[in-house]
Symmetry: C2
């Protein structure tokens, strides 16, 4: 049923649909039409129907969409229903915050280890998970087979770590560093989070609006 070439733009909207449908469910709303949803989400009903129909006909003519069912389908599309193991590389400020702030289980991940190259951080723990030295990565990976790593390290050591992780079977990276993984490893699965890029984008928008006012 699923189309072959689904665009990045469509995929990036799915998590938002998922969130909104979750909100509706909490309010006890069981059915919704593309028009109603479009008004809530500030986009067009056409786009919603197009997006969903990339993956299958989840609605019913004359009725709309069943909220719980649609949400479940999107969860499956996003792979939230299958649990994979994830490790965090870097137990600095950011690594600690991600560990404590993100509820990985909610999104189909089990946080199974935290690593840092600084021996001083070893054996500390964050939210009950022991911080291990990166020397122990090989042993840990062969025992636990994580498939995804969160990179919370500076650019400097990143290439070496990614190379090592790939040899150990980790090929998906949630990348908070400024290291460009795809440049060296074009077949890795990468999602970059460039917080400072986001900040600069905001700076631009803010500047523009204040220019207009003047």
């Amino acid at each position: 049923m699923q189309k072959d070439n689904i665009s990045k733009s469509v995929i990036r909207r799915l998590p938002r649909y998922y969130r909104f449908l979750g909100g509706l469910l909490k309010q006890g709303i069981t059915k919704i039409s593309s028009r109603e949803l479009s008004e809530m989400m500030r986009l067009t009903a056409s786009q919603i129907r197009q997006d969903l129909n990339c993956f299958g006909g989840f609605g019913q003519q004359g009725y709309g969409y069943n909220v719980a069912e649609l949400r479940g389908e999107i969860a499956k599309i996003l792979g939230l229903d299958v649990t994979e193991k994830v490790i965090i590389i870097g137990a600095g400020n950011l690594g600690r915050a991600i560990t404590m702030h993100i509820d990985f289980a909610k999104y189909g991940y089990e946080l199974s280890g935290i690593f840092d190259s600084n021996a001083a951080k070893e054996n500390g723990d964050i939210s009950g998970i022991t911080v291990m030295h990166t020397d122990r990565l090989a042993d840990f990976c062969s025992a636990n087979s994580p498939t995804m790593a969160v990179l919370c390290i500076p650019r400097a050591g990143a290439k070496e770590i990614v190379e090592k992780l790939r040899e150990l079977g980790v090929n998906a990276f949630w990348n908070f560093s400024h290291y460009d993984i795809l440049f060296d490893f074009p077949d890795a699965i990468v999602e970059n989070v460039h917080l400072t890029d986001s900040l600069m984008t905001l700076s631009y928008a803010a500047k523009r609006s204040s220019d207009d006012t003047e």
Copy 2:
């Protein structure tokens, strides 16, 4: 010189240009052509020239672009050259990590205050900045005039805080919460960072690639 309607897509690429040019500068490279840059950044030379020409002719025919000069121009476009004051709302894990991890000064911001509604966190300090109770927001804003707020709070109290901040002259929001600011305040300047959306996008990509392998 600047065109009127510059698309969001172009703006989102500017921080990346800025970062790459910074890297070149560090390597002591003084000039670069759109073709050379396009190979480094994995995009087309055409796109680079189109993007830059939204803001002016920064290059020179037969030569290319002066790295330092171009970087400076982009800094100005992004508003990195003008310092504005920013406050952080929420001194939880995320607020603490943002405070310690982001070098606001590098991007034209001065972090001038951290606020939390939990009295227990009051008077603690993060990186040398005292955490204040949100009750003190009004006084603080009239004394310091911050223009941007980083929202590191749960969705629940967010609307109330945003409303208050806008009354106090803060209209730009770096929003890490799931609260949809623009729904209630359509003229606010908002940059959303939805970390969990990003994680789900990665989950989708990872799932797809493992499906292909099977």
